[in-house]
């Protein structure tokens, strides 16, 4: 019996190269998803109605019935039918934004915030060389310290116990990243060191720090550390807390960067060695740029978190913006309108943190698109 072949082909009808067939209309697709059956139509109508009602009340409270200004004090907000009392922000913004900083000197805080925002805007642009950005940030940080501290150029001296609000949040955050990122890189490299003592030491620092809540680290830095320091060495409380903050951030960043280092194929370092590059050159030109690029998503996670961690400074009596808001809203005249005040600060946090995340994502896209293309 002969086998009859059933496998086969059919040659293409034409060898024309065509564009893909038209996509299904998006509106039609959406209508189908929302009103496809009786049940989903019901769900869509009920859900839609609830959403509309909620949106209407929110809009009415926050915009339509809201009281925007109250020249005569909080009485304007107490009228029956009044919605959100945004006037509280107008009345209390000096304390919310600048904490206990002397009122007459608050222009210094305004200049500081403006400098930070402008330079953050400049830093978004890829055209600006990285070195220019970094030098700019260092210069701005130094200017910020001078502005806050005063004592020269005719500015009155303001002690760190009176620093507060958004400028303080910015400076704690900036200092944390500026100090913590290099320290984190060193710890990550140290943990991978071939010298067992060095590697054990770095591992210990990372694991011990990660084993404590930030609050404990800050308490230790601010309150317990002075007991061990010689009394002549009088380190400012803000500086001590900042050191705690830097070490805490560095411990997390170190693990993130170590993750990035581990994704790097061994061949990259070998190729750089074969070219005759020194350890430092290999690190700076070949290994770290790639490791940090692949660690970027988690690294920005750590960075955004460390901005939010600035709120912990309130525990030490240093008024970051949240702490400043809390104390501003203890004024009996406005205490009823705390919600509006906090909403304002939450919005501020949201804008800043989202801005940081968006910037992180754009960096990621830039470097990862390159790395991904290099799959082989």
């Amino acid at each position: 019996m002969t086998h009859i072949l059933t496998s086969g082909i059919e040659l293409p009808a034409s060898d024309a190269i065509r564009p893909p067939p038209a996509q299904e209309n998006r509106v039609r697709a959406l209508t189908g998803a929302l009103f496809g059956s009786t049940f989903s139509t019901l769900i869509t109508l009920i859900g839609g109605a609830l959403l509309l009602v909620f949106a209407w009340f929110a809009l009415k409270w926050a915009i339509v019935d809201a009281v925007w200004t109250a020249p005569g004090g909080s009485a304007a907000c107490a009228k029956p039918g009044a919605g959100a009392c945004w006037a509280v922000i107008g009345a209390k913004y000096p304390v919310i934004l600048f904490g206990a900083f002397p009122y007459a000197e608050q222009w210094r805080g305004v200049v500081l915030i403006a400098l930070w925002l402008v330079w953050a805007g400049v830093s978004i642009f890829r055209r600006v060389p990285a070195l220019t950005k970094i030098i700019g940030w260092i210069a701005i940080f130094i200017v910020s310290i001078i502005l806050m501290r005063g004592g020269i150029f005719g500015m009155t001296y303001v002690g760190t116990d009176q620093w507060g609000g958004l400028p303080l949040s910015f400076m704690i955050f900036g200092g944390t990243i500026a100090g913590g990122l290099p320290l984190g890189i060193l710890l990550a490299l140290g943990r991978r060191s071939r010298l067992p003592i060095f590697s054990a030491l770095c591992t210990a620092v990372i694991e011990v720090t990660r084993g404590f809540p930030l609050l404990v680290v800050l308490f230790f830095a601010a309150l317990i550390m002075p007991l061990f320091l010689p009394p002549q060495l009088n380190v400012d409380k803000l500086v001590r807390a900042e050191i705690g903050m830097i070490i805490f951030f560095a411990a997390y960043a170190a693990e993130t960067i170590r993750g990035g280092l581990q994704t790097l194929p061994l061949g990259q370092d070998e190729a750089a060695q074969a070219l005759g590059l020194s350890y430092r050159q290999r690190l700076l030109k070949v290994i770290l740029p790639q490791a940090i690029a692949s660690a970027l998503p988690s690294l920005f996670n750590d960075i955004v978190r460390s901005f939010k961690n600035t709120t912990f400074f309130a525990i030490l009596g240093l008024w970051d913006i949240l702490g400043a808001t809390k104390s501003a809203l203890q004024d009996p005249e406005w205490v009823k309108y705390s919600i509006e005040g906090y909403l304002f600060v939450f919005l501020l946090y949201f804008v800043i943190c989202s801005g940081l995340s968006l910037y992180g994502r754009s960096l990621e896209r830039e470097s990862l698109s390159r790395l991904r293309r290099a799959g082989k």
Binding site: Q268, A274, L275, K376
Partner: protein, 257 residues
């Protein structure tokens, strides 16, 4: 420039001298009493079954692997644990890897200029000019500003060869340079290597490309289980191998070729 085949009368100064090299991975004796000499301007093809120690041997030459016993000299400089000597040897040797190992975050041009600028302290202008000339030579003159990920495997390997040439190495070590390539790309890489060989570049090539070995090698060295079993010019090695294992090996790859 061309190099005459080695004459017995005047031996050229050897580029690499390896004497009684032994290496262990844990308890495994990976290289067993390996001795090998590469004359300046000459080409050795190193072949043998996988796991025979070929790659390990050439990776010892530029210090990517360490060895326990024996001596190794490149251009008269001994690899003896001194970091100055290691730097010197790495400057004299180039290596082309199986998986290219180009730097994916840099353009082709930056891949080429990194070594000369960092190690040889060349200016950017000088290094770029040389890089572009070399890219022409490996027929990639129009790819200078692309990233490695945008190139085919064969193109990437040619970039890797150009990157090595930028350092003007006395010896180039090729570690299975065509093994990771799709078949249709093997030839373009081998052609570049054959051109280099005919220009008198000294090289040690670990490869299974026996046509290349026949065309280019001055000496074919056969390794198995960490030992060098025999070495002969290609016409001798491929027709009348001495050992049983070499005969088996030649027969097997003969079927593939």
């Amino acid at each position: 420039m061309t190099t005459q085949p080695q004459s017995t009368a005047a031996m050229p100064e050897p580029a690499i001298v390896i004497r009684h090299l032994n290496k262990w991975y844990g308890q495994h004796h990976a290289l067993r009493d390996v001795s090998l000499r590469l004359g300046a301007g000459e080409k050795i093809v190193l072949c043998g079954p996988s796991g025979s120690g070929k790659s390990t041997l050439i990776r010892c030459i530029n210090g990517l692997e360490s060895f326990a016993e024996g001596s190794l000299e490149v251009g008269g400089v001994a690899l003896d644990g001194s970091s100055a000597h290691l730097r010197e040897i790495r400057r004299m040797t180039g290596m082309v890897f199986q998986h290219f190992n180009l730097f994916p975050h840099m353009t082709v041009l930056e891949n080429l200029t990194l070594g000369p600028r960092s190690v040889l302290r060349e200016s950017e202008i000088e290094a770029s000019a040389r890089a572009r000339a070399l890219l022409e030579r490996v027929r990639l003159g129009d790819q200078a500003l692309k990233y490695p990920g945008q190139l085919s495997g064969g193109q990437q390997q040619r970039v890797a060869i150009a990157r090595t040439l930028m350092m003007r190495p006395q010896v180039i070590l090729f570690d299975e340079p065509t093994s990771a390539l799709d078949p249709e790309m093997v030839q373009e890489v081998l052609e570049v290597m054959e051109e280099l060989a005919s220009d008198g570049q000294s090289m040690i090539v670990v490869t299974h490309e026996m046509t290349f070995a026949r065309n280019v090698a001055d000496l074919v060295v056969f390794m198995d289980k960490g030992q060098i079993l025999e070495a002969a010019p290609p016409e001798v090695f491929f027709t009348t191998p001495h050992t049983e294992r070499a005969r088996n090996f030649v027969r097997q790859i003969g079927h593939a070729a």
